[in-house]
Point group: C2
Chain length 246, copies 2
């Protein structure tokens, strides 16, 4: 069943209208839904199997069953990743949403190759948010990850205090055969924590940035992962550790 999001609280057997033109387009033209079909709607206070009552300019639905399966990672992972060329960033955030990321911070890293047009950045962020929302619906997420931009590494550092843990994925650790720090870190991070994970752009983080960040660098195994692959490895390992090993 397809999932949609409504930013309201809900109770059983309550009716709501879906007004989002994107969602209505998706239900009518992509899913070809009809009245009586079942969908899942994520409300602020939980998810409900819901029945489509009427399909008109807006779509009316009624909640018919509370869903108690938890699909959110028990730790809240923010992926701060240097902006990347082409469509790589877009598919990274799509996959990372499927894999449970809670928040994305695209930032301009020292070695970010693409030119950042600050006039166009808002448009790009809107596109990121749309991709994330669709991926959240398709993967049965209960929360849509948020997206916010930081124009520099220096701006990113100012956010560190908002987090319980900050980790850097650093390719030189992989090359040096480092294999223990990631697992050691996960063993100390308790469910409910807010974790910021920082990833470099193509070419990696600079030594100046590592010095500026001044937090623990972890290796993600012995192979060198591309910039867009590393966050997916980290999120998969975190899911395995917290959701499948316990």
């Amino acid at each position: 069943m397809q999932r949609y999001f409504l930013e309201q609280d809900a109770e059983l057997n309550q009716r709501f209208f879906i007004h989002s033109t994107d969602d209505i387009h998706h239900m009518k033209n992509v899913m070809r839904s009809s009245e009586g079909d079942k969908i899942i709607v994520n409300f602020n206070n939980g998810a409900y199997v819901s029945s489509i009552i009427t399909m008109a300019e807006s779509i009316e639905i009624e909640t018919i069953e509370l869903i108690d399966l938890v699909t959110e990672l028990p730790v809240h992972i923010t992926i701060a990743s240097g902006l990347l060329k082409n469509d790589k960033y877009e598919w990274m955030i799509q996959k990372a949403t499927e894999l449970g990321a809670a928040h994305f911070i695209p930032f301009v890293s020292e070695r970010t190759i693409i030119k950042i047009d600050h006039k166009k950045i808002d448009k790009r962020l809107e596109r990121f948010k749309k991709i994330v929302k669709e991926a959240a619906e398709q993967s049965y997420r209960q929360q849509v990850p948020s997206v916010s931009f930081q124009p520099s590494s220096r701006a990113l550092v100012k956010l560190f205090d908002d987090y319980d843990y900050v980790l850097i994925a650093y390719e030189e650790e992989a090359k040096a055969g480092e294999t223990r720090k990631f697992h050691a870190a996960l063993n100390t991070i308790v469910p409910g924590s807010n974790v910021l994970m920082i990833f470099g752009p193509e070419g990696g983080l600079s030594h100046d940035e590592l010095k500026l960040f001044d937090v623990q660098a972890i290796g993600l195994g012995p192979r060198i992962l591309r910039a867009e692959t590393a966050p997916l490895y980290a999120l998969s390992a975190i899911s395995y550790f917290y959701e499948l090993m316990s």
Copy 2:
């Protein structure tokens, strides 16, 4: 340092010629290498830092230092994944190569949507092999994963005897909240084993296929992963389990 592959045995201070036109193009035009530059060459019996001696029609190199870092997963994972639409298969095998897969079996699953033109399949496989080779070089793999095609689920089943373990990633397990079987399986799979992991195409495996395969189905966490994302989750978790937790 960039990696290249030569299917020969090597000793220290031995000279070799690189004849592959792809590799020569890559060294000359992409990496802009010059005589005296260092590269890493993977031979059948190990990897060596090598020095470029002469760059002409062929490129002569000399092995100067044995590398003892192991970058291959301790278990040999074959990813048998139903063929997918568009370029999704290509990026899946690129990422799965970075993440350590040993072998790929693209197969025609019951719900495979794309039309398979059996005349064109050889050309498509050549393209897959090229992507895999480049990803192996870039990610410091010591082996280039192989790629072989199977025209049906029935043909795939005939290969099961070649493997120590066969696992199916099944989305219904995720929806049902199954969270223990993957970890239990990894706990029984010893290093050196050959493992076949089967993934459905868009729309998943059919019930008939599950019955035909008749092997253990495992869940990959509570979120529904796209067909191209599931193999990346599995490989990342396997790397974490065998390479970072021990």
